[in-house]
């Protein structure tokens, strides 16, 4: 109950945002203040309590009670602190980013509800509170992706997101009810020691599906790329650092059960496929935010791979550091877009060096994502590589090679992302662009700077994580050889990106010169897959509907036929005596003829 306090300020702020929606500046600071209070409560929770599971009864069904239970276990507090820490930064960034007065109330309502449900998610200790948060995450994500209601593309993206997410929701609901029917409990703790039954296998597979939909893993990847139609703070908050990591987090806390059932390998297989899909598409993509979205898919896939190896520490390490550098990169992307008058194409963005603060934070984020040594991203990625560096069998070797390819690709695409907007703008654009860069609001520059500091400090987690978090699974240890391999890959990527995008730009590098695009663009194929599936469903719907319609018509016409028969037969008694006599005479004639012949 105590832990639930953390969501109260945000829920209050959400409703205040609706009530005060006409006072647009006030609304922003109410939301920001509430998020700071939440952060303080989260810190207080960290300092005061240790690993408490608290329950209260939501409702009773006969002799069973359905609880809402929260926990302040270290891993839950870790996610809570990440969320609570990023929320004020996002809200601060939004002050500068979102200026339209009429949108403020709705924006802060949805964002506050989202933040509250993410916090509820991070402290939930049973399926009921988790599912409440899980659904609210999906719905707020849907509303925020489609936030700009006048953009048809945003609406399509929102629809794709909710359709994917709803699959996960139903899978999750079935799974939790299956578990309850078998074990009569919703609590995670009670399940860790549960005996393996077929129901548990089915439930855990369904939960994996749910996690894949939420974390945009293959084959559910595309919604995340499309989700970039939403406002940038939303992308920085939901679709990189918090909501999409709900799936990973869920698997992380349920990992002991998967270990008991021996189906952890599942995550390695789906993880490596998603990582390749993400990395290749990021390289093929031109949309400044979609590159980062595919990169997020890759990061999440790496976390799943680490979980699949039961290297929970490695997964958690990347989980923490990814939140900082990805939020930072998204904020930078938003700043570039704002300066370029909402220009979304990477190759149409220029002069990103004109704002020193922005550029330095961008470089820090890029180096971290690529995995250059002292940055926190290096430890996250190298930890996972070192886990995979096990050459005992052929599949492991293949996996390691693939992971190295992913590392190389991610280094190329992120340096491409850094280098391309650095180019000098054409003369007609340069003037306004430079002014825009120099007049970027402070509120859009300070949050990335804070995050950049975290990106650098985040490296300490490599040393301290084992002490902070009691987790099962393999410990993290990055050897010298891993460091060398990782550094070589990153530098190679840097060199390739430099050659392709800095050297060649002198000769008028344009889109058609980019050889990599066609080869790597698998997002389109996955979309085709979705289209076939949707077409199949609609075809079945059409068949069923026609059947339904024809049966209805058949009943209608048979009814009408009865009426028609009645109408015809009615003539038999219409009261006209001459007709009766005529009929009588005809009948008599027929009889006579019959007897005569």
């Amino acid at each position: 109950m105590l832990a639930l306090l953390v969501i109260v300020p945000l829920v209050v702020a959400a409703f205040l945002a609706v009530i005060l929606r006409s006072r647009t500046t006030l609304v922003r600071y109410v939301a920001l203040g509430a998020s700071v209070i939440s952060l303080l409560i989260a810190v207080a929770l960290l300092l005061t309590s240790s690993n408490m599971v608290q329950q209260f009864i939501w409702f009773n069904v006969g002799q069973y009670a359905v609880h809402i239970s929260t926990t302040t276990a270290p891993i839950n507090l870790m996610l809570l602190l990440i969320v609570a820490g990023i929320t004020p930064l996002i809200f601060a960034y939004s002050i500068g980013y979102l200026k339209t007065p009429s949108e403020q109330g709705r924006y802060y309502f949805e964002m506050c509800i989202f933040a509250a449900s993410m916090m509820l998610f991070s402290i939930s200790a049973n399926f009921i509170s988790l599912f409440i948060a899980w659904e609210m995450l999906g719905i707020t994500s849907y509303l925020l992706i489609g936030f700009w209601q006048y953009k048809p593309k945003a609406q399509l993206a929102a629809r794709k997101a909710i359709t994917t997410i709803i699959i996960g929701d139903v899978a999750m609901l079935i799974a939790m009810l299956l578990i309850w029917s078998t074990y009569h409990t919703f609590e995670f703790l009670a399940l860790y020691s549960a005996a393996a039954t077929p129901a548990l296998y089915a439930a855990m597979l369904l939960i994996a599906v749910a996690a894949f939909t939420k974390s945009a893993q293959f084959p559910f990847t595309e919604w995340l790329a499309d989700a970039m139609e939403g406002p940038t703070p939303v992308s920085a908050f939901l679709h990189s650092s918090t909501m999409v990591k709900a799936g990973v987090f869920l698997i992380l806390i349920l990992a002991p059960i998967y270990t008991n059932l021996h189906i952890l390998n599942l995550f390695v297989i789906f993880g490596i496929v998603s990582a390749l899909v993400g990395a290749m598409n990021a390289l093929a993509e031109h949309h400044i935010k979609r590159i980062l979205a595919y990169s997020t898919i890759e990061d999440l896939a790496l976390m799943f791979i680490a979980i699949g190896f039961n290297a929970l520490y490695a997964a958690v390490l990347l989980f923490i550091v990814q939140a900082f550098y990805k939020a930072l990169l998204f904020m930078s992307a938003g700043s570039i877009m704002t300066a370029g008058d909402d220009e979304e194409d990477l190759f149409e963005s220029f002069n990103s060096t004109k704002n020193r603060g922005l550029f330095i934070t961008m470089v820090i984020g890029t180096l971290s994502l690529a995995g250059i040594f002292p940055m926190s991203g290096f430890f996250g990625k190298a930890a996972i590589d070192s886990v995979a560096a096990n050459f005992s069998s052929l599949p492991n070797i293949i996996l390691y090679v693939l992971l190295s390819v992913v590392d190389l690709l991610s280094s190329i695409y992120i340096f491409r992302w850094l280098f391309v907007p650095m180019r000098k703008a054409p003369l007609e654009k340069a003037f306004t662009l430079n002014i825009n860069y120099r007049t970027l609001p402070k509120s859009m520059l300070i949050p990335p700077t804070i995050l950049a500091a975290f990106v650098i400090i985040g490296s300490v987690f490599y040393v301290t994580l084992t002490n902070l978090l009691p987790l099962g699974g393999l410990p993290v240890s990055i050897g010298v050889s891993d460091t060398v391999v990782e550094t070589i890959l990153v530098l190679a990527g840097l060199a390739i990106a430099y050659l392709l995008y800095v050297k060649m730009r002198l000769s008028g590098f344009t889109e058609k010169h980019e050889v990599l695009r066609g080869a790597f663009n698998s997002g389109a194929e996955i979309n085709v897959l979705y289209n076939y599936f949707a077409a199949f469903v609609m075809l079945s719907a059409n068949v069923v509907w026609r059947f339904d319609h024809y049966i209805d018509r058949l009943l209608y016409y048979s009814g009408m036929g009865l009426v028609e028969i009645g109408n015809r037969l009615r003539r038999l008694q219409n009261g006209q005596t001459n007709l009766y006599v005529a009929a009588f005479m005809l009948g008599l004639l027929a009889l006579i003829l019959l007897f005569a012949l």
Binding site: W58, F59, N60, V61, G62, Q63, V66, F131, I132, E135, M136, I139, Y142, G146, Q149, Y150, K151, P152, Q155, L156, A158, R159, I162, T163, I166, I167, V170, L173, I174, L177, L178, W180, S181, A199, A202, V537, M538, S540, A541, N542, V544, W545, D548, I551, D552, L555, G559
Partner: protein, 470 residues
């Protein structure tokens, strides 16, 4: 012995007669007073039974003493949930009024008459009066469609009454057979339940199937659902609210009755669950081809009623109570949805999802209320639908294993489709439709009332579970 159930019946009937007798101007006030008193009485019963932790109420008034038939009324937890739902939906319908404001007097009188019949039906402890209330309800709604409906109302109402009379005649036949074949020769549900095992198997099966078909028409279920889309589409806004919100629950409540009355039910549970599950998936597919938003919502009724029948066929306490909770949640939610769609039609002059665009920008309260209603139908937590889904599918999984969760696929499809509808017609504000009319404060109060009840019973489920004897 209390007189509360009798008072509810008395006030609703009295209000209905008064509306007919007095002026048009007074009709809404009287209707509000009548349904308000009924709602107040149900809330009083709710509070007292929550304090006691149990609920059981019985009343008896003399009726036809020559045949030993009396007006036997009782409230069990399940029937009380449905009475509460009726009171909420009827009060919401009266409060919201018809956005078109046509023939308010007739509408209000019929709503109160229908409320009278529904409360009587859910509270009846006697099959004879059950049947009487059943027919009063059907006839009230027949006029609701036939007099107050839209352009194609004649066809729809005749179709409705043909199906319903077919159902009623089978029901009457079933009730007569029960009377003759039970050794006690009684209409009393309690007496029949205790004596039902003495009826020979073959006869029992026959009675069960007769009544099952009758209730199946009313619910409705797959092969006999054809009346529903037309009736719902052509009825006035208030008519659809009552039709889908309350009338379809007659059948579902009847199903609950026959499943508890006859021991034969357990042998038929699996085929019935299969039929119900099939009906769910089937109508989910049919829904996806609809363009008229009111028709979409009408088809979701068939989906939800299929799920409810699966829960009833599970024949365990979770399933039974879940079915009651789902009926409650569905009644309120669907009333909200029909109200919003009716208002949308009034505002924009169309309810085709291909034509109407950007409702949230031009009619914000209507748009967002519809979205809340969709959340309720798809069972998002903190709406009453979620608790219902949890109870229902726990019951279904306990009875049928993993297969019991399959109807959720229908819910998944309808969820995906409803979000498509929201997306196309409500959220997409590029080139929005222009409003031609406006709705008044009454309709917005109606939204608030129905939405509030939906959330209240979703956030505090113990309000309906506190007095249950599971």
């Amino acid at each position: 012995m209390t007189i509360l159930i009798g008072l509810m019946l008395l006030f609703s009937a009295l209000a209905s007669i008064l509306i007919l007798a007095l002026d048009q101007e007074l009709s809404k006030r009287i209707a509000l007073a009548g349904s308000g008193i009924v709602l107040a009485i149900t809330i009083w019963i709710l509070v007292t039974s929550l304090l006691q932790g149990s609920l059981s109420m019985g009343e008896q008034y003399p009726y036809i003493s020559a045949f030993d038939i009396s007006l036997q009324l009782q409230l069990t937890p399940i029937s009380f949930i449905l009475v509460l739902m009726t009171a909420i939906v009827a009060f919401g319908a009266v409060m919201a009024g018809n956005p078109e404001r046509v023939r308010e007097k007739a509408a209000n009188a019929l709503i109160l008459l229908f409320e009278f019949s529904a409360i009587g039906l859910f509270a009846s402890a006697n099959l004879f009066i059950f049947f009487i209330f059943w027919d009063i309800g059907v006839i009230a709604l027949f006029f609701m469609i036939n007099i107050l409906g839209s352009a194609n109302r004649r066809y729809a109402s005749i179709k409705f009454i043909i199906y319903e009379i077919f159902a009623s005649s089978l029901l009457l036949l079933g009730i007569m057979m029960i009377y003759f074949y039970t050794p006690v020769h009684s209409f009393d549900i309690g007496a029949i339940t205790s004596a039902a095992s003495t009826i020979p198997q073959a006869t029992q099966q026959m009675i069960f199937i007769l009544m099952f078909i009758a209730f199946m028409v009313n619910m409705p279920l797959f092969p006999l659902h054809f009346w529903l889309p037309d009736a719902h589409t052509e009825a006035s806004t208030q008519g659809s609210m009552l039709l889908s919100g309350v009338l379809t629950k007659f059948g579902a409540y009847g199903m609950l009755l026959i499943f508890t009355m006859f021991p034969i039910a357990s042998s038929l549970a699996i085929p019935i669950a299969l039929l119900a599950g099939f009906s769910t998936i089937y109508s989910a597919f049919v829904t996806m081809m609809q363009h008229d938003i009111k028709r979409v919502i009408a088809y979701t009724t068939i989906i939800d009623m299929g799920i409810i029948l699966v829960a009833i066929a599970a024949m365990n306490s979770f399933g039974t109570y879940g079915a009651a909770y789902a009926m409650f949640a569905h009644g309120i939610t669907i009333a909200l949805l029909f109200l919003t769609v009716g208002c949308m039609h009034h505002i924009f002059g169309s309810r085709d999802m291909r034509v109407v665009k950007g409702v949230v920008s031009r009619a914000a309260s209507t748009g967002y209320s519809f979205i809340m209603g969709v959340f309720g139908v798809t069972g998002v937590p903190l709406t009453a639908g979620f608790v219902a889904d949890v109870l229902i599918f726990i019951g279904a999984i306990q009875a049928f294993g993993l297969a019991g969760a399959l109807p959720l696929i229908g819910l998944l499809m309808i969820g995906a489709f409803m979000y498509l509808v929201i997306n196309r017609s409500f959220m997409m504000t590029k080139e929005p439709s222009q409003p031609v009319e406006y709705i008044g404060i009454e309709q917005q109060l109606g939204y608030a009332f129905l939405m509030g009840s939906m959330l209240l019973f979703g956030i505090f489920p113990f309000l309906l579970l506190g007095f249950a004897n599971l």
